[in-house]
Protein backbone atom coordinates (compact mmCIF):
# COMPACT_ATOMS: atom_id res chain seq x y z
CA UNK A 1 0.00 0.00 0.00
CA UNK A 2 2.70 2.50 0.98
CA UNK A 3 4.78 1.44 -2.01
CA UNK A 4 1.95 2.38 -4.36
CA UNK A 5 1.96 5.94 -3.01
CA UNK A 6 5.58 6.60 -3.88
CA UNK A 7 6.29 4.12 -6.67
CA UNK A 8 5.95 6.64 -9.48
CA UNK A 9 8.45 8.98 -7.84
CA UNK A 10 10.86 6.16 -7.10
CA UNK A 11 10.68 5.01 -10.70
CA UNK A 12 11.50 8.52 -11.92
CA UNK A 13 14.49 8.83 -9.58
CA UNK A 14 15.76 5.37 -10.45
CA UNK A 15 15.41 6.03 -14.17
CA UNK A 16 17.38 9.28 -13.82
CA UNK A 17 20.27 7.48 -12.10
CA UNK A 18 20.36 4.35 -14.26
CA UNK A 19 19.74 2.27 -11.18
CA UNK A 20 22.98 3.34 -9.54
CA UNK A 21 23.43 3.09 -5.80
CA UNK A 22 23.75 6.89 -5.46
CA UNK A 23 20.02 7.09 -5.97
CA UNK A 24 19.35 5.29 -2.67
CA UNK A 25 19.23 8.43 -0.51
CA UNK A 26 17.05 10.38 -2.96
CA UNK A 27 14.69 7.38 -3.07
CA UNK A 28 14.50 7.13 0.71
CA UNK A 29 13.77 10.87 0.89
CA UNK A 30 10.96 10.44 -1.60
CA UNK A 31 9.50 7.48 0.29
CA UNK A 32 9.48 9.43 3.57
CA UNK A 33 8.01 12.52 1.96
CA UNK A 34 5.26 10.62 0.15
CA UNK A 35 4.27 8.01 2.73
CA UNK A 36 5.72 9.20 6.02
CA UNK A 37 8.16 6.33 6.41
CA UNK A 38 10.27 3.70 4.72
CA UNK A 39 8.14 0.57 4.75
CA UNK A 40 9.26 -3.06 4.45
CA UNK A 41 7.78 -3.06 0.97
CA UNK A 42 9.79 -0.04 -0.07
CA UNK A 43 12.96 -1.62 1.33
CA UNK A 44 12.39 -4.80 -0.69
CA UNK A 45 11.53 -2.82 -3.80
CA UNK A 46 14.65 -0.65 -3.61
CA UNK A 47 16.87 -3.62 -2.79
CA UNK A 48 15.68 -5.35 -5.92
CA UNK A 49 15.90 -2.31 -8.18
CA UNK A 50 19.34 -1.27 -6.97
CA UNK A 51 20.61 -4.82 -6.79
CA UNK A 52 21.57 -4.44 -3.14
CA UNK A 53 21.10 -6.78 -0.19
CA UNK A 54 18.01 -5.75 1.78
CA UNK A 55 20.18 -5.10 4.82
CA UNK A 56 22.09 -2.39 2.94
CA UNK A 57 18.89 -0.51 2.23
CA UNK A 58 17.69 -1.07 5.77
CA UNK A 59 20.94 0.14 7.30
CA UNK A 60 20.89 3.38 5.29
CA UNK A 61 17.22 3.92 6.12
CA UNK A 62 17.86 3.48 9.85
CA UNK A 63 21.13 5.45 9.94
CA UNK A 64 19.85 8.89 8.95
CA UNK A 65 17.61 10.82 11.31
CA UNK A 66 15.41 12.20 8.53
CA UNK A 67 14.37 8.71 7.48
CA UNK A 68 11.96 6.77 9.60
CA UNK A 69 11.00 3.11 9.60
CA UNK A 70 7.86 3.89 11.54
CA UNK A 71 5.06 5.98 10.17
CA UNK A 72 5.54 9.64 10.99
CA UNK A 73 2.82 12.23 11.41
CA UNK A 74 1.74 14.28 8.44
CA UNK A 75 3.48 17.23 10.05
CA UNK A 76 6.94 16.50 11.39
CA UNK A 77 8.05 18.99 14.02
CA UNK A 78 11.84 18.97 14.28
CA UNK A 79 12.90 20.73 17.48
CA UNK A 80 16.54 21.60 17.86
CA UNK A 81 17.95 20.42 21.19
CA UNK A 82 21.59 21.36 20.51
CA UNK A 83 23.52 23.74 22.71
CA UNK A 84 22.62 27.23 21.42
CA UNK A 85 18.93 26.37 21.52
CA UNK A 86 19.33 24.63 24.86
CA UNK A 87 20.92 27.77 26.29
CA UNK A 88 17.88 29.72 25.13
CA UNK A 89 15.30 27.27 26.44
CA UNK A 90 14.69 24.38 24.03
CA UNK A 91 13.47 22.38 27.03
CA UNK A 92 10.52 24.74 27.32
CA UNK A 93 9.80 24.36 23.62
CA UNK A 94 9.63 20.59 23.97
CA UNK A 95 7.39 20.90 27.02
CA UNK A 96 5.04 23.32 25.29
CA UNK A 97 4.75 21.00 22.28
CA UNK A 98 4.18 17.99 24.50
CA UNK A 99 1.42 19.81 26.36
CA UNK A 100 -0.19 21.08 23.20
CA UNK A 101 -0.18 17.72 21.44
CA UNK A 102 -0.51 15.42 24.48
CA UNK A 103 2.37 13.18 23.40
CA UNK A 104 5.99 12.96 24.49
CA UNK A 105 8.92 13.97 22.34
CA UNK A 106 9.71 11.29 19.78
CA UNK A 107 6.08 10.21 19.47
CA UNK A 108 3.34 10.68 16.88
CA UNK A 109 -0.20 11.75 17.73
CA UNK A 110 -2.77 8.90 17.46
CA UNK A 111 -4.46 10.71 14.54
CA UNK A 112 -1.08 10.67 12.72
CA UNK A 113 -1.16 14.42 12.25
CA UNK A 114 1.94 15.44 14.24
CA UNK A 115 5.30 13.97 15.23
CA UNK A 116 7.69 15.67 17.65
CA UNK A 117 11.29 14.90 16.73
CA UNK A 118 14.10 16.26 18.91
CA UNK A 119 16.98 16.87 16.48
CA UNK A 120 20.51 18.25 16.39
CA UNK A 121 21.32 21.83 15.34
CA UNK A 122 19.25 23.09 12.39
CA UNK A 123 21.50 26.03 11.56
CA UNK A 124 18.96 28.47 13.03
CA UNK A 125 20.99 29.22 16.15
CA UNK A 126 20.65 33.01 15.82
CA UNK A 127 16.90 32.49 16.23
CA UNK A 128 17.21 30.08 19.15
CA UNK A 129 15.21 28.29 20.36
CA UNK A 130 14.24 27.08 16.91
CA UNK A 131 12.32 24.33 15.16
CA UNK A 132 11.04 23.31 11.76
CA UNK A 133 7.61 22.05 10.83
CA UNK A 134 8.02 20.10 7.60
CA UNK A 135 9.95 22.59 5.43
CA UNK A 136 9.10 25.78 7.35
CA UNK A 137 11.44 27.30 9.92
CA UNK A 138 10.34 28.92 13.18
CA UNK A 139 12.61 30.80 15.56
CA UNK A 140 12.65 32.78 18.81
CA UNK A 141 10.02 30.38 20.09
CA UNK A 142 7.87 30.90 23.15
CA UNK A 143 5.04 28.79 24.55
CA UNK A 144 2.50 31.25 23.12
CA UNK A 145 4.09 31.17 19.66
CA UNK A 146 4.05 27.39 19.68
CA UNK A 147 0.35 27.33 20.45
CA UNK A 148 -0.27 29.62 17.47
CA UNK A 149 1.88 27.59 15.12
CA UNK A 150 0.22 24.30 16.06
CA UNK A 151 -3.20 25.89 15.66
CA UNK A 152 -2.28 27.10 12.18
CA UNK A 153 -1.41 23.55 11.17
CA UNK A 154 -4.56 22.20 12.79
CA UNK A 155 -6.64 24.66 10.80
CA UNK A 156 -4.83 23.66 7.62
CA UNK A 157 -5.64 20.03 8.42
CA UNK A 158 -9.29 20.82 9.07
CA UNK A 159 -9.70 22.40 5.65
Amino acid sequence: MSLEKCKKQLETILAGCEGKRESLLPCLHAACEQCGHVSEEVISYLAEKLDLPRVEVYSAASFYSMFSLEEMGKNVIRVCVSLSCYLKGSNKVIKALENELSITAGQTTPDKKFTIEPVSCLGLCDKAPAMMVNEEVYGDLTAAKIKDIINQYRQKEAK
Binding site: K20, R21, E22, S23, L24, L25, P26, L28, H29, E56, S59, A60, F63, Y64, S65, M66, F67, R78, S82, L83, S84, Y86, L87, K88, V119, S120, C121, L122, G123, L124, C125, D126, K127, A128, M132, E135, V137
Partner: protein, 424 residues
Protein backbone atom coordinates in the same frame (compact mmCIF):
# COMPACT_ATOMS: atom_id res chain seq x y z
CA UNK B 1 36.30 44.61 4.89
CA UNK B 2 33.82 42.26 3.25
CA UNK B 3 34.87 39.47 0.93
CA UNK B 4 32.00 37.05 1.28
CA UNK B 5 29.06 39.16 2.40
CA UNK B 6 29.90 42.09 0.10
CA UNK B 7 26.88 41.40 -2.10
CA UNK B 8 24.54 39.99 0.52
CA UNK B 9 24.85 43.08 2.70
CA UNK B 10 24.05 45.39 -0.22
CA UNK B 11 20.52 46.75 -0.24
CA UNK B 12 18.38 45.35 -3.03
CA UNK B 13 20.72 42.46 -3.78
CA UNK B 14 18.65 39.34 -4.43
CA UNK B 15 21.21 36.69 -5.31
CA UNK B 16 19.81 36.15 -8.82
CA UNK B 17 22.24 35.65 -11.67
CA UNK B 18 21.41 39.14 -13.00
CA UNK B 19 22.22 40.80 -9.69
CA UNK B 20 25.33 38.67 -9.27
CA UNK B 21 26.62 39.62 -12.69
CA UNK B 22 25.84 43.29 -12.11
CA UNK B 23 28.12 43.15 -9.05
CA UNK B 24 30.93 41.76 -11.19
CA UNK B 25 29.98 38.12 -10.78
CA UNK B 26 31.50 35.48 -13.09
CA UNK B 27 34.30 37.92 -14.00
CA UNK B 28 36.66 35.83 -11.88
CA UNK B 29 35.70 32.71 -13.83
CA UNK B 30 36.35 34.53 -17.09
CA UNK B 31 39.79 35.58 -15.87
CA UNK B 32 40.54 32.14 -14.47
CA UNK B 33 39.72 30.45 -17.77
CA UNK B 34 42.41 32.58 -19.47
CA UNK B 35 45.04 31.65 -16.86
CA UNK B 36 46.83 28.37 -16.44
CA UNK B 37 45.83 26.13 -13.52
CA UNK B 38 49.36 26.65 -12.19
CA UNK B 39 48.81 30.43 -12.06
CA UNK B 40 45.59 29.94 -10.13
CA UNK B 41 47.29 27.58 -7.68
CA UNK B 42 50.04 30.10 -7.15
CA UNK B 43 47.55 32.90 -6.35
CA UNK B 44 45.68 30.62 -3.98
CA UNK B 45 48.88 29.68 -2.17
CA UNK B 46 49.91 33.32 -1.95
CA UNK B 47 46.55 34.14 -0.38
CA UNK B 48 47.30 31.70 2.48
CA UNK B 49 43.63 30.76 2.51
CA UNK B 50 42.93 27.80 4.78
CA UNK B 51 39.78 25.69 4.97
CA UNK B 52 36.87 27.23 6.84
CA UNK B 53 35.10 23.93 7.55
CA UNK B 54 37.06 23.33 10.71
CA UNK B 55 40.35 21.64 9.90
CA UNK B 56 42.10 24.76 8.51
CA UNK B 57 44.00 22.89 5.81
CA UNK B 58 45.70 25.18 3.22
CA UNK B 59 43.33 25.34 0.25
CA UNK B 60 46.02 25.96 -2.38
CA UNK B 61 47.87 22.85 -1.28
CA UNK B 62 44.70 20.76 -1.32
CA UNK B 63 43.90 21.82 -4.88
CA UNK B 64 47.48 21.16 -5.95
CA UNK B 65 47.36 17.61 -4.57
CA UNK B 66 44.19 16.94 -6.52
CA UNK B 67 45.60 18.52 -9.67
CA UNK B 68 48.74 16.37 -9.44
CA UNK B 69 46.81 13.16 -8.81
CA UNK B 70 47.07 10.92 -11.84
CA UNK B 71 43.71 9.14 -11.70
CA UNK B 72 40.75 10.45 -13.69
CA UNK B 73 37.99 11.56 -13.68
CA UNK B 74 38.37 14.05 -10.85
CA UNK B 75 35.63 15.62 -8.79
CA UNK B 76 34.90 18.82 -6.89
CA UNK B 77 32.67 18.44 -3.84
CA UNK B 78 31.28 21.28 -1.79
CA UNK B 79 30.59 20.46 1.83
CA UNK B 80 27.29 22.19 2.60
CA UNK B 81 26.35 19.81 5.37
CA UNK B 82 26.73 22.52 8.03
CA UNK B 83 26.03 20.58 11.19
CA UNK B 84 28.32 21.74 13.97
CA UNK B 85 25.93 23.11 16.60
CA UNK B 86 26.10 26.89 16.60
CA UNK B 87 27.04 27.17 12.90
CA UNK B 88 24.70 28.93 10.47
CA UNK B 89 27.00 30.82 8.09
CA UNK B 90 26.89 28.50 5.09
CA UNK B 91 23.09 28.68 5.08
CA UNK B 92 23.40 32.46 4.66
CA UNK B 93 25.59 32.07 1.57
CA UNK B 94 23.58 29.21 0.06
CA UNK B 95 20.28 31.03 0.36
CA UNK B 96 21.44 34.50 -0.61
CA UNK B 97 24.43 34.31 -2.94
CA UNK B 98 24.41 30.90 -4.61
CA UNK B 99 26.23 32.01 -7.76
CA UNK B 100 29.32 32.95 -5.76
CA UNK B 101 29.60 29.29 -4.77
CA UNK B 102 28.84 28.04 -8.28
CA UNK B 103 31.50 30.32 -9.76
CA UNK B 104 34.04 29.15 -7.20
CA UNK B 105 33.30 25.49 -7.89
CA UNK B 106 33.75 26.03 -11.63
CA UNK B 107 37.11 27.67 -10.94
CA UNK B 108 38.04 24.70 -8.74
CA UNK B 109 37.01 22.31 -11.49
CA UNK B 110 39.10 24.14 -14.07
CA UNK B 111 42.11 24.25 -11.74
CA UNK B 112 42.19 20.59 -10.74
CA UNK B 113 40.89 19.21 -14.03
CA UNK B 114 37.42 18.08 -13.00
CA UNK B 115 34.27 18.30 -15.07
CA UNK B 116 31.76 17.21 -12.43
CA UNK B 117 30.98 18.88 -9.12
CA UNK B 118 28.61 18.00 -6.29
CA UNK B 119 27.08 20.13 -3.58
CA UNK B 120 26.28 17.93 -0.61
CA UNK B 121 23.65 19.93 1.22
CA UNK B 122 22.15 18.94 4.52
CA UNK B 123 18.65 17.54 4.22
CA UNK B 124 17.03 20.13 6.46
CA UNK B 125 18.11 23.05 4.25
CA UNK B 126 15.02 22.93 2.04
CA UNK B 127 15.09 26.58 1.02
CA UNK B 128 18.79 26.53 0.15
CA UNK B 129 18.18 23.43 -1.95
CA UNK B 130 15.51 25.21 -3.96
CA UNK B 131 17.62 28.34 -4.35
CA UNK B 132 20.59 26.30 -5.57
CA UNK B 133 18.47 24.24 -7.95
CA UNK B 134 17.26 27.42 -9.63
CA UNK B 135 20.71 29.01 -9.57
CA UNK B 136 22.37 26.02 -11.25
CA UNK B 137 19.71 26.13 -13.97
CA UNK B 138 20.32 29.84 -14.53
CA UNK B 139 24.08 29.32 -14.60
CA UNK B 140 23.67 26.67 -17.29
CA UNK B 141 21.38 28.95 -19.31
CA UNK B 142 23.99 31.70 -19.14
CA UNK B 143 26.78 29.31 -20.12
CA UNK B 144 28.50 29.77 -16.75
CA UNK B 145 28.09 26.01 -16.25
CA UNK B 146 27.69 23.22 -18.78
CA UNK B 147 29.62 22.68 -21.99
CA UNK B 148 32.30 25.08 -23.22
CA UNK B 149 31.84 27.52 -20.38
CA UNK B 150 31.97 31.17 -21.47
CA UNK B 151 33.28 30.18 -24.87
CA UNK B 152 36.25 28.21 -23.54
CA UNK B 153 36.93 24.52 -24.03
CA UNK B 154 36.26 23.83 -20.34
CA UNK B 155 33.04 22.01 -19.40
CA UNK B 156 31.71 21.61 -15.88
CA UNK B 157 28.43 20.51 -14.29
CA UNK B 158 27.15 20.62 -10.73
CA UNK B 159 24.72 18.16 -9.14
CA UNK B 160 22.94 18.73 -5.86
CA UNK B 161 22.76 15.94 -3.32
CA UNK B 162 20.71 16.06 -0.15
CA UNK B 163 21.98 14.67 3.16
CA UNK B 164 19.45 13.17 5.51
CA UNK B 165 20.29 14.25 9.02
CA UNK B 166 23.63 12.96 10.29
CA UNK B 167 26.22 15.27 11.82
CA UNK B 168 29.05 12.86 11.01
CA UNK B 169 28.36 13.32 7.28
CA UNK B 170 30.05 16.72 7.58
CA UNK B 171 33.29 14.79 8.05
CA UNK B 172 34.76 14.63 4.58
CA UNK B 173 35.11 10.89 4.13
CA UNK B 174 31.75 10.09 5.73
CA UNK B 175 30.31 12.68 3.36
CA UNK B 176 31.80 10.86 0.38
CA UNK B 177 30.30 7.55 1.50
CA UNK B 178 26.95 9.23 1.92
CA UNK B 179 27.29 10.81 -1.52
CA UNK B 180 27.81 7.31 -2.88
CA UNK B 181 24.47 6.26 -1.39
CA UNK B 182 25.75 4.53 1.73
CA UNK B 183 25.36 5.29 5.37
CA UNK B 184 27.82 7.99 6.30
CA UNK B 185 30.68 6.42 8.19
CA UNK B 186 34.19 7.79 8.03
CA UNK B 187 36.94 6.13 6.03
CA UNK B 188 40.45 5.51 7.27
CA UNK B 189 42.79 8.37 6.29
CA UNK B 190 45.22 8.33 4.54
CA UNK B 191 44.55 8.05 1.65
CA UNK B 192 43.04 11.52 1.62
CA UNK B 193 40.20 12.46 -0.74
CA UNK B 194 42.53 14.44 -3.00
CA UNK B 195 43.96 11.04 -4.01
CA UNK B 196 41.14 8.60 -3.27
CA UNK B 197 37.81 10.40 -2.95
CA UNK B 198 34.39 10.12 -4.56
CA UNK B 199 34.15 6.73 -6.31
CA UNK B 200 37.80 6.34 -5.29
CA UNK B 201 38.82 9.13 -7.66
CA UNK B 202 40.78 12.32 -6.80
CA UNK B 203 38.38 14.75 -5.18
CA UNK B 204 38.72 18.30 -3.94
CA UNK B 205 36.36 18.74 -1.03
CA UNK B 206 35.84 22.21 0.42
CA UNK B 207 33.51 24.02 2.74
CA UNK B 208 31.02 26.56 1.33
CA UNK B 209 32.78 29.52 2.97
CA UNK B 210 36.24 28.40 1.85
CA UNK B 211 35.12 28.25 -1.77
CA UNK B 212 33.30 31.57 -1.52
CA UNK B 213 36.63 33.34 -0.98
CA UNK B 214 38.04 32.12 -4.29
CA UNK B 215 36.42 34.52 -6.81
CA UNK B 216 37.70 37.57 -4.92
CA UNK B 217 41.17 36.05 -4.64
CA UNK B 218 41.23 35.56 -8.42
CA UNK B 219 40.01 39.13 -9.01
CA UNK B 220 42.25 40.90 -6.50
CA UNK B 221 45.20 38.54 -6.20
CA UNK B 222 46.57 36.33 -3.47
CA UNK B 223 48.77 39.10 -2.05
CA UNK B 224 45.74 41.32 -1.51
CA UNK B 225 43.95 38.58 0.45
CA UNK B 226 46.99 37.71 2.53
CA UNK B 227 47.09 41.26 3.91
CA UNK B 228 43.61 41.04 5.47
CA UNK B 229 43.45 40.11 9.16
CA UNK B 230 46.10 38.10 11.05
CA UNK B 231 49.36 37.69 9.16
CA UNK B 232 49.71 33.97 9.86
CA UNK B 233 46.07 33.15 9.12
CA UNK B 234 44.78 35.91 6.87
CA UNK B 235 41.42 36.72 5.38
CA UNK B 236 38.02 37.35 6.77
CA UNK B 237 35.95 34.83 8.68
CA UNK B 238 32.24 34.45 9.11
CA UNK B 239 31.70 34.30 12.87
CA UNK B 240 28.42 32.81 14.04
CA UNK B 241 27.40 34.38 17.33
CA UNK B 242 24.73 32.61 19.35
CA UNK B 243 23.67 31.78 22.88
CA UNK B 244 23.53 34.41 25.62
CA UNK B 245 24.48 37.40 23.50
CA UNK B 246 22.35 40.44 22.73
CA UNK B 247 22.69 40.44 18.93
CA UNK B 248 23.20 36.92 17.64
CA UNK B 249 24.03 36.59 13.95
CA UNK B 250 26.71 36.08 11.32
CA UNK B 251 29.49 38.68 11.30
CA UNK B 252 32.18 38.78 8.64
CA UNK B 253 35.33 40.23 10.17
CA UNK B 254 39.09 40.13 9.60
CA UNK B 255 40.64 37.14 11.38
CA UNK B 256 42.65 39.22 13.85
CA UNK B 257 39.63 40.39 15.83
CA UNK B 258 39.52 39.53 19.52
CA UNK B 259 36.72 37.57 21.11
CA UNK B 260 35.94 40.56 23.29
CA UNK B 261 35.49 42.87 20.31
CA UNK B 262 33.34 40.32 18.57
CA UNK B 263 31.00 39.91 21.52
CA UNK B 264 30.93 43.51 22.72
CA UNK B 265 31.21 45.59 19.55
CA UNK B 266 29.31 43.36 17.16
CA UNK B 267 27.22 41.09 19.35
CA UNK B 268 25.97 43.98 21.49
CA UNK B 269 27.47 42.43 24.63
CA UNK B 270 26.62 39.46 26.77
CA UNK B 271 23.03 38.85 27.74
CA UNK B 272 23.56 38.55 31.49
CA UNK B 273 26.90 37.91 33.21
CA UNK B 274 29.49 36.03 31.17
CA UNK B 275 30.54 32.61 32.38
CA UNK B 276 32.21 30.87 29.43
CA UNK B 277 32.46 30.78 25.65
CA UNK B 278 32.73 27.92 23.19
CA UNK B 279 34.53 29.59 20.25
CA UNK B 280 34.16 26.74 17.76
CA UNK B 281 30.96 24.92 18.59
CA UNK B 282 30.53 21.92 20.86
CA UNK B 283 33.64 20.33 19.32
CA UNK B 284 35.82 23.05 20.82
CA UNK B 285 36.95 23.68 24.39
CA UNK B 286 35.40 26.23 26.72
CA UNK B 287 37.20 29.51 27.24
CA UNK B 288 36.70 31.17 30.62
CA UNK B 289 35.49 34.75 31.06
CA UNK B 290 39.09 35.97 31.55
CA UNK B 291 40.24 34.73 28.13
CA UNK B 292 38.36 37.23 25.99
CA UNK B 293 41.50 38.88 24.63
CA UNK B 294 42.26 35.88 22.45
CA UNK B 295 42.42 36.56 18.71
CA UNK B 296 39.77 34.70 16.76
CA UNK B 297 42.05 32.91 14.30
CA UNK B 298 43.10 29.28 14.03
CA UNK B 299 46.62 29.46 15.55
CA UNK B 300 45.69 31.89 18.37
CA UNK B 301 42.76 29.80 19.60
CA UNK B 302 44.83 26.67 19.44
CA UNK B 303 47.43 28.35 21.64
CA UNK B 304 44.64 29.29 24.04
CA UNK B 305 43.75 25.60 24.36
CA UNK B 306 40.65 25.64 22.19
CA UNK B 307 39.95 25.82 18.47
CA UNK B 308 38.19 28.04 15.97
CA UNK B 309 36.60 25.16 14.08
CA UNK B 310 33.66 26.51 12.12
CA UNK B 311 33.64 29.70 14.26
CA UNK B 312 30.43 28.83 16.05
CA UNK B 313 30.84 31.22 18.96
CA UNK B 314 28.47 30.15 21.73
CA UNK B 315 28.20 32.54 24.65
CA UNK B 316 27.20 31.13 28.04
CA UNK B 317 26.03 33.29 30.95
CA UNK B 318 26.16 32.50 34.64
CA UNK B 319 22.66 31.06 34.85
CA UNK B 320 23.93 27.78 33.35
CA UNK B 321 25.42 24.84 35.21
CA UNK B 322 28.63 23.47 33.67
CA UNK B 323 27.86 19.88 34.68
CA UNK B 324 24.55 20.19 32.87
CA UNK B 325 26.24 21.64 29.78
CA UNK B 326 28.94 18.95 29.80
CA UNK B 327 26.15 16.38 29.93
CA UNK B 328 24.37 18.06 27.00
CA UNK B 329 27.51 18.12 24.87
CA UNK B 330 28.26 14.45 25.46
CA UNK B 331 24.64 13.56 24.71
CA UNK B 332 25.06 15.20 21.33
CA UNK B 333 28.15 13.15 20.48
CA UNK B 334 26.62 9.93 21.79
CA UNK B 335 23.61 10.53 19.55
CA UNK B 336 25.68 11.45 16.50
CA UNK B 337 28.50 8.90 16.77
CA UNK B 338 28.39 6.73 13.65
CA UNK B 339 29.37 3.65 15.64
CA UNK B 340 32.16 2.54 13.35
CA UNK B 341 34.95 2.57 15.92
CA UNK B 342 34.87 1.39 19.52
CA UNK B 343 36.51 4.30 21.38
CA UNK B 344 33.93 6.77 20.11
CA UNK B 345 30.88 4.49 20.06
CA UNK B 346 31.48 3.23 23.61
CA UNK B 347 33.30 6.28 24.93
CA UNK B 348 30.54 8.76 24.15
CA UNK B 349 28.00 6.43 25.75
CA UNK B 350 30.01 5.97 28.94
CA UNK B 351 30.83 9.67 29.23
CA UNK B 352 27.15 10.48 28.90
CA UNK B 353 26.24 7.94 31.59
CA UNK B 354 28.80 9.36 33.99
CA UNK B 355 27.52 12.93 33.53
CA UNK B 356 23.93 11.79 33.93
CA UNK B 357 24.89 10.08 37.18
CA UNK B 358 26.65 13.22 38.35
CA UNK B 359 23.52 15.25 37.65
CA UNK B 360 21.44 12.73 39.62
CA UNK B 361 23.59 12.78 42.76
CA UNK B 362 25.21 9.47 41.85
CA UNK B 363 28.62 10.87 40.91
CA UNK B 364 31.69 9.15 42.33
CA UNK B 365 35.01 10.55 43.48
CA UNK B 366 36.85 8.73 40.70
CA UNK B 367 34.66 10.11 37.90
CA UNK B 368 36.84 13.08 36.98
CA UNK B 369 40.00 11.00 36.61
CA UNK B 370 38.05 8.38 34.68
CA UNK B 371 36.62 10.97 32.29
CA UNK B 372 40.07 12.48 31.76
CA UNK B 373 41.46 9.09 30.87
CA UNK B 374 38.54 8.46 28.55
CA UNK B 375 39.15 11.81 26.87
CA UNK B 376 42.80 10.90 26.22
CA UNK B 377 41.94 7.47 24.86
CA UNK B 378 39.21 8.85 22.61
CA UNK B 379 41.48 11.60 21.34
CA UNK B 380 44.29 9.18 20.57
CA UNK B 381 42.36 6.29 19.11
CA UNK B 382 39.10 7.50 17.53
CA UNK B 383 38.94 7.07 13.80
CA UNK B 384 37.61 10.50 12.88
CA UNK B 385 37.33 14.01 14.25
CA UNK B 386 33.95 13.38 15.84
CA UNK B 387 35.32 11.00 18.45
CA UNK B 388 38.59 12.87 18.79
CA UNK B 389 36.79 16.10 19.70
CA UNK B 390 33.83 14.61 21.55
CA UNK B 391 35.23 15.28 25.00
CA UNK B 392 36.71 18.73 24.33
CA UNK B 393 33.79 20.73 25.69
CA UNK B 394 33.13 18.42 28.65
CA UNK B 395 36.82 18.04 29.50
CA UNK B 396 37.46 21.78 29.41
CA UNK B 397 34.36 22.41 31.54
CA UNK B 398 35.88 20.14 34.19
CA UNK B 399 39.26 21.92 33.89
CA UNK B 400 37.89 25.45 34.04
CA UNK B 401 35.11 24.94 36.59
CA UNK B 402 36.44 22.19 38.88
CA UNK B 403 34.54 23.31 41.96
CA UNK B 404 31.16 22.95 40.24
CA UNK B 405 31.94 19.34 39.41
CA UNK B 406 33.37 18.78 42.88
CA UNK B 407 30.15 20.06 44.49
CA UNK B 408 27.99 17.82 42.34
CA UNK B 409 30.11 14.79 43.15
CA UNK B 410 30.90 15.16 46.86
CA UNK B 411 28.23 17.53 48.17
CA UNK B 412 25.54 16.21 45.80
CA UNK B 413 24.63 19.81 45.22
CA UNK B 414 23.81 21.76 42.04
CA UNK B 415 23.98 25.34 43.29
CA UNK B 416 22.00 26.69 40.36
CA UNK B 417 19.24 24.17 40.91
CA UNK B 418 19.41 22.94 37.31
CA UNK B 419 20.51 19.32 37.71
CA UNK B 420 17.79 17.13 39.23
CA UNK B 421 20.15 15.70 41.89
CA UNK B 422 17.95 12.66 42.30
CA UNK B 423 17.27 9.59 40.24
CA UNK B 424 14.85 10.39 37.39
Amino acid sequence: MKVILKNIEKEGYDGSIASYISEGGYEALKIALKKTPEDILSELKKSKLVGRGGAAFPTGMKWEFARNSKETPKYVVCNADEGEPGTFKDRLILENDPHMLIEAMAIAGFTVGASQGFIYIRGEYFKAYDVLTAAIEDAVKNNCLGNNILGSDFSFNISLYRGAGAYVCGEETALLDSLEGKKGQSRVKPPFPTFVGYQNKPTVLNNVETLSNVPQIILNGGDWYSKIGSADCPGTKLYCLSGDVKKPGVYELPTGITLKELIDTYGGGVDGKLKAVLPGGVSSSFLAADQLDVKMDYPSLQKAGSMLGSAAVMVVNDTHCMVDLAKRCTEFFDYESCGKCTPCREGTKRAREIFINMSQAAGEATDIALLKELQDVMYDTSRCGLGQAAMNAAGSAMDKFPSEFEKHITKKNCELGICPMEKV
